[in-house]
Symmetry: C2
Subunit: 278 residues, 2 copies
């Protein structure tokens, strides 16, 4: 058996940074330490943080005082103002690349462009970006664009972990609906590399394992990308979920993971695959 492990699997820069900031804060003052929503979209990592005293709360109303960590996805303008009003100590772990997407969305809006965000409408990153605009439209399907507009000036940005193919499709479709289209490619480099590598691996294996939170958008997009090439693609959160039957007939197995998947989980999955194929 040959196992192809993606070099780009696992924590990206923004997630790693947010985890480091949370760990540092937990070490310094673990009391009254909260994250607004799960710090990253990985239940195992969030559970690990909880063990260190970092509590995830979905709403600011549930954080009476102390320190709030804004996660890598960023925070909405409303929550930012609310946290300040409440006098909470703020640790802003928003990924700098997400900050850039927020900046470009705001810039386009101020320059008079209608703003299209290519992404999942209910993803916290997208919700946060949208909160900085008076209006903005989120699309996750290029076919929708035909029914929007027409616009004189249209600006397009993307959720940082979006599928590059979807992004291209939306831009192409929008050319029929706007005289001017101004595009900032805000998909982060790590995401694009991870998607490309996953695709390359999926092409040459008999079975593909993608590790990451079921609530992680970028992980689920990796699953979709691989599945198009290799129907035997299986999403899992932990090593125990591997069904030995999946691998029975596989000579070549591929392994990748989302941006919020801790390395220890990837390692466990790798070991489990090797054990099953011994």
């Amino acid at each position: 058996m040959k196992l192809y492990i993606a070099k780009s699997a696992g924590f990206c820069f923004g997630v790693k940074r947010a985890m480091d900031m949370a760990l540092k804060a937990a070490k310094k003052e673990p009391k009254q330490l909260y994250t607004l929503g799960p710090l990253i979209h990985n239940p195992q990592a969030v559970e690990f943080l909880r063990g260190l005293g970092v509590k995830a709360k979905d709403r600011l109303e549930n954080i009476p005082k102390g320190t709030v960590i804004f996660r890598s996805h960023g925070v909405s303008l409303g929550d930012l103002k609310k946290a300040k009003r409440k006098g909470l100590h703020i640790i802003d772990a928003t990924c700098p690349i997400v900050k850039k997407a927020q900046f470009f969305a705001t810039y386009l809006h101020r320059q008079g462009y209608a703003v299209l965000i290519v992404g999942e409408a209910y993803h916290p990153e997208v919700e946060a970006i949208k909160s900085y605009l008076d209006e903005g439209v989120v699309v996750d399907d290029a076919r929708v664009v035909q029914k929007l507009g027409p616009w004189e000036k249209l600006g397009i940005i993307a959720q940082t972990t979006q599928s590059f193919n979807l992004f291209k499709e939306v831009v192409t479709a929008s050319l029929e609906r706007a005289r001017e289209v101004r595009v900032f490619n805000t998909i982060c480099h790590a995401t694009m590399t991870r998607q490309k590598e996953a695709l390359e691996i999926a092409k040459k294996v008999d079975g593909m394992i993608v590790v990451g939170g079921y609530n992680s958008g970028n992980t689920q997009r990796l699953v979709a990308i691989c599945k198009e090439i290799q129907p035997q693609t299986h999403p899992i959160e932990t090593a125990e979920e591997i069904n030995p039957k999946w691998l029975e007939k596989c000579e070549k197995i591929g392994l990748t993971a989302g941006a919020s998947t801790p390395s220890w989980i990837i390692k466990e999955v790798e070991e489990e695959i090797r054990r099953l194929k011994e």
Copy 2:
């Protein structure tokens, strides 16, 4: 036999305007009246103008004095300056839509964008647009884009009569090569309508006739678009060129024409088709 004639066939607004300006000038003062290059890309129409005294000259050096008409494709910055220096009387028949393309190219250039022009490098319209920029790259194949850049800021415009599909392909390809892509769709509405209608007609006929100058870029693009759908697509300049064999087995025939094809030629072609199928 059923004959489908494209409503959008023939003279576009810009060509009609240029012809009207030339005819008016010829009526007023036919002596020393020149066009810089053929007024439109249709030998028969140019011949007709010559009969009225309007002489086509390829270079300003061959126009000693008198009036020069700048054709619908526009004129290069160099020629504009030269004509002024020579003290020629100028009639500027540049299509207003082409002027807009020149404006957007210049605007992008001044705003610090690298400028990509989707078009034919040696078409007079493209040469004129390019002359207003210190640098600009012309592409007529999306695959070329992969080898260009990378750019921080890329601006894209198109030759006004370009294929919309090629334009979309170039924009899509450029998203891999630039952080920001700013696109002005300068393809004129009439061109887009003509291409769409030609495609619709080509889909339902057994044979397709496309009338227009062999030197007319937009006509040859219509041929290419129709040929992809209907291999029995025949480009002609005049009615005499129709080969009766083309139509022998055709029950449904389509007819369209480029933006520089005079209506009298289209009419002759229509009559010839009807005569052959009587």
